[in-house]
């Protein structure tokens, strides 16, 4: 069976339609190797979009192109404006980016890290610090303000970085324009309770009118929270659609080159993915 690919909707430039992320014919070449080619999608704000796919399929590279971190060919537009036309400050007011991992060059406290998310870090009024504390509470790190960032565990560091990004974008929309969160494997080093907490923060951001695009590995967590799935394989987009349309045995098994079975959670009819595996020795 051919992988199903939903046709990209024709974009019409109306005002209510402008809050969307549009990617057309995206291609990225890193050190002479074509990593991503022919990727196109268009997601409206108010949705949580997950990019899934095997290691090396180009998920993170698509993310880095969309956030302006690597040079790309093709078109990327955020809320109607081409990426290349926006200054770093304009982009920073429009979207926050959570990297997979952040190591500091100098020892900052948790408070100082999260404060960096406040735009124009020149001042620090009481209202601004209140936002820092609130962001830390949201990621379940209240009281961690005075801790040294480098002394935290990987999962705690990841949540501090999310608090910093939340401080940056804060409101999911501003004067009718959506703000965006780009999250690169936001739950990769978290325990199961905090995985769900972070996904709920992301889903809530989308529910309140913001746009969220997240690179994800855990298909079940993705199925639980994502409104839209982009499946990458070998640098191309294999499928694009809502979780119950994309999470099908054949499609998902082909994407990951491994037999996978999709079931439905009895309670809410939500799909879940079960790997078919035996404890045989790995192929040599």
């Amino acid at each position: 069976m051919k992988p199903e690919t939903l046709a990209m909707p024709e974009t019409v430039e109306t005002t209510e339609d402008r809050s969307r992320l549009e990617v057309r014919d995206l291609a990225v070449t890193l050190s002479g190797t074509r990593i991503v080619s022919g990727v196109g999608f268009s997601v409206p704000a108010g949705t949580l979009t997950a990019i899934v796919g095997p290691n090396g399929s180009g998920k993170s590279t698509v993310m880095r192109a969309v956030t302006g971190e690597v040079a790309h060919a093709g078109l990327v537009r955020i809320n109607g404006a081409p990426l290349s036309a926006l200054t770093p400050a304009e982009l920073a007011a429009l979207r926050g980016v959570l990297p997979q991992h952040t190591s500091l060059s100098f020892p900052l406290s948790v408070m100082e890290v999260v404060r960096l998310g406040l735009l124009s870090p020149a001042g620090s009024g009481p209202g601004r610090d209140a936002r820092v504390h609130a962001a830390l509470r949201r990621v379940d790190l209240a009281g961690f303000e005075g801790r040294a960032y480098q002394s935290l565990s990987g999962g705690e560091q990841q949540r501090v970085q999310l608090a910093r990004v939340l401080c940056q974008v804060w409101e999911p929309s501003c004067e009718g324009t959506a703000r965006w969160l780009f999250l690169d494997e936001p739950v990769s080093s978290l325990d199961i309770r905090h995985q769900i907490l972070i996904m709920r923060i992301a889903a809530d951001f989308a529910a309140r009118g913001g746009g969220v695009v997240a690179v994800m590995h855990d298909l079940n967590l993705t199925a639980m929270f994502a409104d839209r799935l982009l499946v990458m394989k070998s640098g191309r987009l294999l499928a694009d659609g809502p979780p119950d349309a994309v999470l099908r045995d054949e499609l998902i098994s082909e994407a990951f080159d491994h037999p996978l079975r999709v079931g439905a959670l009895p309670a809410r009819g939500m799909p879940f993915v079960l790997p078919q595996a035996t404890r045989e020795a790995p192929p040599v």
Binding site: S31, T67, G68, E69, T87, P88, A89, L91, A92, A93, G96, V97, P99, T102, S103, L104, S105, F106, P107, L108, S109, V110, M111, E112, V113, L116, G117, L119, S120, P121, A122, S124, P126, D129, A130, H133, A134, A142, G143, E145, G146, R147, A148, Q150, S151, Q168
Partner: protein, 367 residues
């Protein structure tokens, strides 16, 4: 816990620092450093072969009163023509070196990046040596035109070329490799040292005397001309770097993340590199190679007030100035009536002190 409690922690800067906000403490430290700088300057003015009543002598000079006695006149000349230029030059050079070190460490995201260690000072010294040795020949018209600014300008471009080369060699595809950069700095420093050696080889006696001055570093030749030459450059850099503080703070997260929170990273790097080259060049031009100020001062302050560049940069300027004035006072009194080159004093005190800092830190994360 209610938000009002979190926002205004009771118990002053200690409690604020425990709550992760080292700003109040940093401001207190900066105020203390400013007082210390004034005290160090007065101490240095009062110290020397002559016992001079500094405050009254300075006061009468500033008010423009005539010196009444021969002793007053002598005191005034020693103070205004010998000690005061020296203290001012020491303050300027110390501030320039410490701030250059802090900015460079911020840009390269490494606590070891110091203009002295990565060869920027050597490059500036080479340019200055080139001007001294070759300035009489082919470059004579340029030197005549530039006057007292010839040496600072040459040292500035020497520092700039070295910094830029360092940066280009260390950067591939937008990513700066710290080990490559440090190794390239050592190689460039050695190259500049060898070329300076070559210049020493061909120099005549008068030039040799001037060149020796570069090698060791000294404020002995301090006079108002030198302050006029280096002062404006250093003052301009010191006035400009606070505008880099926010960007340097963001850079602690890495270049990509800094860009994501709105920093024009490339422009920040360019401005910072020019500023470091200018300040280092001006400092090297008037005082030769003085080591360890650019690495010890920022490191010590980061341990105390944290890495926030909004506080770190002014604190570095104040502490760098104080320490260099102090080192110069030691260098000109410890073997009186002779003088030790100040570079020997800063290295003798700075190197063991730096090792002590490295040994006493508890874990790798506390660097």
């Amino acid at each position: 816990m209610s938000e009002t409690v979190l926002e205004r922690p009771a118990g002053g800067w200690r409690a604020a620092a425990r709550a992760g906000d080292r700003g109040p403490m940093a401001r207190a430290v900066i105020a203390a450093l400013a007082v210390a700088l004034a005290g160090t300057a007065l101490f240095s003015l009062a110290t020397g072969a002559l016992d001079i009543p500094v405050l009254s002598a300075l006061g009468s000079w500033v008010e423009g009163r005539d010196a009444l006695t021969a002793t007053d006149l002598r005191d005034r000349i020693v103070l205004t023509e010998v000690r005061l230029p020296r203290v001012l030059l020491g303050a300027l050079v110390g501030a320039a070196l410490a701030v250059s070190g802090a900015v460079m460490q911020g840009i390269f995201r490494n606590p070891l990046a110091d203009p002295g260690i990565v060869g920027v000072s050597a490059g500036a010294g080479l340019a200055a040596a080139g001007l001294i040795v070759l300035g009489g020949g082919a470059l004579a018209p340029v030197v005549a035109l530039a006057g007292i600014y010839a040496l600072p300008v040459a040292a500035f471009f020497g520092g700039l070329v070295t910094t830029f080369a360092l940066y280009r060699i260390g950067t591939r595809g937008g990513m700066t490799s710290i080990p490559t950069m440090l190794l390239a700095g050592i190689a460039l420093g050695a190259l500049a040292g060898a070329l300076t050696g070559l210049l020493v080889y061909v120099a005549d006696d008068r030039q040799l005397r001037d060149l020796t001055f570069w090698g060791l570093g000294s404020l002995a030749g301090a006079n108002w001309d030198k302050i006029l030459a280096a002062g404006p450059v250093i003052a301009l850099v010191l006035a400009a770097v606070p505008f880099l503080a926010g960007g340097l703070n963001a850079l602690v997260l890495g270049e990509a993340a800094a860009s994501h929170i709105g920093v024009r990273v490339q422009r920040l790097k360019t401005v910072a590199i020019v500023a470091v080259a200018a300040a280092t060049g001006a400092a090297v031009a008037v005082s030769g190679g003085i080591g360890f100020v650019g690495i010890v001062v920022p490191h010590l302050l980061r341990l105390t007030i944290g890495p926030d560049h909004r506080y770190l940069l002014p604190a570095c300027a104040l502490l760098g100035a104080s320490l260099l004035i102090l080192a110069d006072t030691v260098s000109r009194t410890i073997v009186a009536p002779a003088e030790l080159p100040i570079g020997i004093v800063t290295a003798l005190a700075g190197a063991p002190f730096f090792l002590w800092i490295l040994l006493r830190r508890k874990g790798l994360t506390s660097l």
